[in-house]
Symmetry: C2
């Protein structure tokens, strides 16, 4: 394996994916990039990694750690330290391309078991050594940065087992470091599914899902990760939290939810007990629709989710911008079907796609889809069959691979996401488009993918040519403006990516001083020496 | 109005309800009470109230409070102070009958608005005057006791308005002091229902529902109160928490859920934004079943809730003991139908009732009931039509009135409740019956009324003759043993009554030291001078 920056900045299994010719045409048209941009790799990151900062650990500290986990479970070489310096936030990938790793962790440690972690936490707490719990490293919020060095605590090497599937309680107890596919495979064998399929599924862990408070693509039916968790085990400097699996309690306020969204700031989640669902893919019912406008589509979506006739599991709308690009890159434009749609008033620049998939008992899934169809029709939709949503599902995890060839072509691309009530939905959607339209040659695609009775998320993907030589500052400035546009118009800071260090500066304004002070008080209690993912995560000191 | 202890110990609208002749026969048979017991009122509490403890407030403090809320909004007479000394816990009712009110509040204050509360909290915080937020006073956990005196802060007089019904977001913003029926009436007018119907519905408030983390009779479909809340406003000594109504966020761990189940220990909840549901009672589908055993009934219930075919809203099982008493008191025993049931193997002492009601769109409610029928049949149930569940619904709030005539007849009666996974369900159920069977002439009825994929609640109602002259100690001893039986066999301390001061002694053991320390840290942050419902609530200092 080559030990270059490029190796680290790649997504997932590290294969390189090409941009399709049709997509290249769209990029040329929309962003003004040229064929030349696709011929060489801009800021390719192919240099071998050399870190300037040496490990700050003293020999005795290193020996102590080695003694706990064993020599085979520590890594101190430059490549390994670099590999645990960042997540997958665009600005981090840019820094890797620019060979900038000013603050790597001092060491990568893979504990063998909970007991190792208890000992490490006690030692680090008394020696003020930072600890950053690490799962699949797919964070896009700067949550995995190590501004103060310390230990990158890799949970994936050993803490990756399914401990118990409880068929009576329909629950599973699993170690936090297991990756999505391994977890799902074990559940499928017993007739269950975890129901949690974030886009990062293949390269994210159960612990990471909790830490960042993630949501999967079927969250409208199954809920976010916070709706799935029944109990946890977490190791903190203030002791071990080990909650019990009760269905619901009134034993004061619950403690385990504090760790969901804690992003490593309170302690290390090592075990999770979660609900599971019946794995019955043969029962899934599908529907795809096209609407004449985003307003019609969101009104139909709101009406469906508020109709009290069961819930879709996958439930998405691509806004006109995203729908148009989907049509173009799939070669749909100017086909017979496209002309037919236009004839009936489903026009480019206005039309948008809705996808539905419902899981559960056969009769139930059919009923929910029937209800969706009835309501979609009422709001002017044309039903376009099962094909489009099934095709979408086939490539559900692939788009993360595109970031690399896009950046190779000098294209800035990143995502943001928010949650918003129905009342503010169109306002946030519209203001985001207005903001992005001020930047020339820039595309903003928005979709809704997690739906609730009182609102939904909005997911923003933007593409624009990099301002070469000023890539970082240009991005930071543009990105900041979009964040502020979203929150000023009534969106939350995040629906499921989390906060990390990137969104931290807006936390106090967004939550209010009393709430952030309460969070800080709790942080101080669990982590009095501020060793747990310290350095600004969540806006905490 | 008479100003006696009896006036205070009565439930709800203070009418006196008689025990039916059929119920008297059952009580005579099971508890060994006699007709004489029903002729006079034991410990009737008809004495006029005289408090020994004078108000501890200084004149200047009284003047300050009067100045904030106005003279018409304070009460300092003995009856009023007595009236806010207790909730409706059996041992509290017993104390009222014994004319024991050693620790009344110093004053009852009805703030006119949030601003009044902000001023009161600031003043009390700097003068170390305890504050106990008061809603409908239906607590059965000692949560409303005032061991340190202070202000009983009555939210029901002024803070009882629906502030906004948001039809787009399908949500309502309401002041915490509104009673259930007034709240529901306003929602019904707009075509909505709150979906939260605890047995105390008529005499409990929205703020109380949150504070005690309650559950309504339709919770299997609509969730517990913690599933309904979208945002809150709470006034604490450390400042005002005012969260925003987002569908879901990943902005760190959420702060507003900390107040759900806080039982007044962190601050005063003044406003709540909640989900509402479509009010479509004409669509409700009903079913009632009888099973041959509790095992069969719970297996069917578990299978239904885990079948992924929608959810019943009301979903109950009465165990054989409760079912038998229901049959006897309704005059069903030895009827033709009873003989018919026995012939088919549904035998007294074993058979049990299941009730189902499903709300939502007509086709949905029919499908869910159809699924329940199919599964119930598989586990040997006989379908007994819509009548029994509809009759049960007609009297859904009435049983709380029975406590008074039962206690008048010298009968000890109280309830406990727990949540438990399916794995431990029969163990807790069986061990509770075994424990109670050790006490002679004692009846324990158990039902399940809130159902989840991984378990359900168990609700215990016990009746036994009072040990006259030793009523309190006898009760405390028996009650303690039942609590310990429940938790030792895997039940939680509470599913929806809350903890208060009665269950507080078990909190540390139940949650673990690390969790209770975290709760205490948060309490110390929000309420550094320990003025908020201080004196042991939730096991906090």
């Amino acid at each position: 394996m080559d030990k270059t920056y490029r190796q680290i900045l790649k997504w997932g299994d590290k294969h390189e994916q090409a941009i399709t010719p049709m997509m290249i045409e769209v990029l040329k048209e929309k962003l003004g990039v040229t064929d030349t941009d696709f011929e060489t790799k801009y800021l390719s990151g192919q240099q071998e990694i050399k870190l300037e900062k040496k490990s700050a650990l003293k020999q005795e500290q290193l020996d102590f750690i080695k003694n706990i986990v064993g020599e085979e479970n520590i890594l101190t070489d430059d490549f390994s330290r670099a590999n645990f310096s960042y997540g997958k936030f665009y600005a981090e990938l840019l820094k890797l391309r620019l060979n900038e790793i000013p603050n790597p962790p001092d060491i990568v440690v893979s504990p063998k078991n909970d007991d190792n972690i208890i000992k490490l936490v006690a030692y680090c707490n008394s020696h003020n050594i930072p600890i950053i719990p690490i799962g699949g490293q797919s964070s896009v919020t700067g949550a995995l940065q190590t501004p103060n060095g310390g230990i990158a605590l890799d949970l994936t090497k050993h803490l990756n087992k399914v401990l118990k599937i409880n068929e009576l309680n329909k629950s599973v107890t699993v170690q936090a470091g297991i990756y999505g596919p391994a977890f799902e495979e074990e559940l499928n064998k017993k007739g269950y599914t975890c129901g949690h399929f974030p886009q990062s599924f293949e390269f994210s862990t159960v612990g990471g899902w909790l830490a960042a408070k993630g949501a999967g693509q079927a969250s409208t039916g199954y809920g976010k990760i916070d709706d799935m968790v029944l109990s946890i085990k977490a190791i903190t400097p203030a002791g071990i939290i080990e909650t019990k699996e009760f269905p619901k309690t009134a034993q004061g306020w619950d403690i385990f939810p504090l760790f969901i969204g804690s992003e490593g700031t309170l302690g290390i989640i090592t075990e999770v007990t979660m609900k599971v669902h019946n794995f019955m893919p043969e029962n899934t019912s599908f529907a795809s629709f096209i609407f004449k406008s985003f307003e019609d589509a969101t009104t139909a979506m709101r009406t469906i989710i508020q109709s009290e006739c069961g819930l879709p599991h996958l439930f998405r709308i691509s806004d006109p911008s995203e729908s148009d690009i989907a049509f173009k890159t799939k070669g749909f434009d100017n086909t017979f079907q496209d002309k037919f749609l236009k004839m009936f008033g489903y026009l480019p620049g206005k039309r948008c796609l809705m996808f539905v998939a419902v899981e559960g008992q056969k009769e139930y899934t059919k009923l929910v889809v029937k209800n969706c169809k009835k309501i979609a029709k009422k709001y002017g939709a044309m039903s376009i069959g099962q094909g489009p949503v099934k095709k979408w599902l086939e490539q559900r995890y692939s788009s993360a691979y595109l970031r690399e060839p896009l950046m190779d072509a000098g294209i800035m691309t990143d995502t943001l996401e928010t949650s918003v009530t129905w009342e503010n939905m169109l306002k946030v959607w519209d203001s985001a488009h207005k903001y992005v339209s001020l930047r020339p040659k820039t595309v903003l695609m928005i979709h809704i993918s997690h739906v609730y009775e009182n609102g939904a998320n909005l997911y923003f993907t933007f593409l624009s040519p990099m301002k070469k030589g000023e890539e970082k500052d240009d991005f930071i400035h543009f990105h900041k403006g979009l964040i502020e546009t979203i929150i000023e118009n009534g969106g939350s800071l995040s629906h499921h990516h989390g906060v990390g260090r990137v969104l931290a500066p807006w936390m106090e304004k967004q939550l209010g001083k009393t709430s952030i002070q309460a969070m800080q008080a709790l942080k101080n209690h669990f982590d009095p020496n501020n060793i747990m993912n310290s350095g600004g995560t969540l806006g905490l000191k």
